[in-house]
């Protein structure tokens, strides 16, 4: 239950350690941290270049994952799906 332990640290107002900060990145990006927890997280970032780099890397990971373009259908698959559609149409009539 480490993650939840990290959260409770935040709620008790102590400083955030790097090991805790990396567990909060997704909650931070998703906007689900409380306002106080968000402030403490950002205060940690402002004094920690490594965690700032880590957050940038998580953002980059999301960006690069989102750039994967779907591969084109092969002509054979396209023909199969056209056929599937025609069969469905004919069962409609």
């Amino acid at each position: 239950m480490r993650i939840f332990a990290f959260r409770s640290v935040l709620h008790h107002g102590r400083d955030v350690a790097c090991q805790q900060a990396v567990e909060l990145v997704t909650d931070y990006l998703e906007g689900t941290l409380s306002r106080a927890a968000r402030r403490r997280f950002e205060a940690h970032l402002s004094g920690c270049p490594h965690c700032t780099e880590y957050l940038a890397q998580m953002r980059e990971t999301i960006k690069l994952t989102g750039q994967l373009a779907p591969e084109d259908l092969t002509p054979q698959m396209r023909a199969e799906f056209t056929d599937l559609y025609r069969r469905w149409r004919s069962e409609q009539q």
Partner: protein
């Protein structure tokens, strides 16, 4: 891009191109998602084919309460689950799994082995088109539940609400799975460029 209502109308009135266009957009992510639930790719392909037929047959019942995409993926996941032999959601999400290897921190929880820079190197490889197949392979190797969330959220760009609907997850569990999946991928990027050096 067509609105869902327009697309449904075209599908129902015999527009083959509307259908192949839809298949073109969603086939690959559907196949990747189905493969997460069933024993092999051949079965995943069958599930996807069955799903498309179910989508066509169910068009009259599509009420537009969710997006067409969410509706299609939900049909897919239901079929894949019925077909799949995977243990029924037995792994508890609450099991701890740190985002970063604890050995990289000192006793006070500060970085002992801080993250290495790789963003610029990765950007270069993306532009050269060399990284995409590696990233796909990394996603394929994620634990199934993390993979499903990452595929829908980060590859397909669905909202967290849509992902929860498609995969029948709570917001909290969705976020934990997303966090672990993204954290693993970040580590894999770092490893990739550390080795390349």
């Amino acid at each position: 891009m067509d609105s869902d209502a327009e697309l449904v109308h075209r599908l129902r009135s015999g527009d083959e191109h509307a259908f192949t266009g839809l298949v073109e957009r969603y086939h690959q992510p559907m196949l990747a998602l189905a493969a997460s639930f069933v024993p092999n790719l051949a079965v995943a392909e069958e599930v996807v084919q069955d799903t498309w037929l179910a989508v066509l047959r169910g068009l009259d019942g599509f009420e537009g309460r969710s997006s067409l995409k969410t509706w299609v993926f939900r049909i897919l996941v239901n079929r894949a689950r019925t077909t799949g032999t995977r243990e029924q959601r037995s792994v508890p999400v609450a099991d701890p799994e740190p985002a970063v290897d604890p050995a990289r921190f000192d006793g006070a929880g500060g970085w002992a082995d801080p993250p290495e820079h790789w963003i610029e190197a990765a950007e270069g490889r993306v532009e050269a088109g060399k990284l995409a197949h590696r990233v796909r392979a990394w996603i394929d190797e994620l634990p199934a539940r993390q993979r499903e969330v990452v595929l829908l959220r980060d590859v397909e760009g669905m909202s967290s609400e849509e992902v929860c609907t498609v995969l029948s997850l709570t917001e909290g569990n969705q976020r934990v799975l997303l966090h672990r999946g993204r954290s693993r991928l970040r580590q894999l990027f770092e490893d990739e460029f550390r080795e390349a050096r």
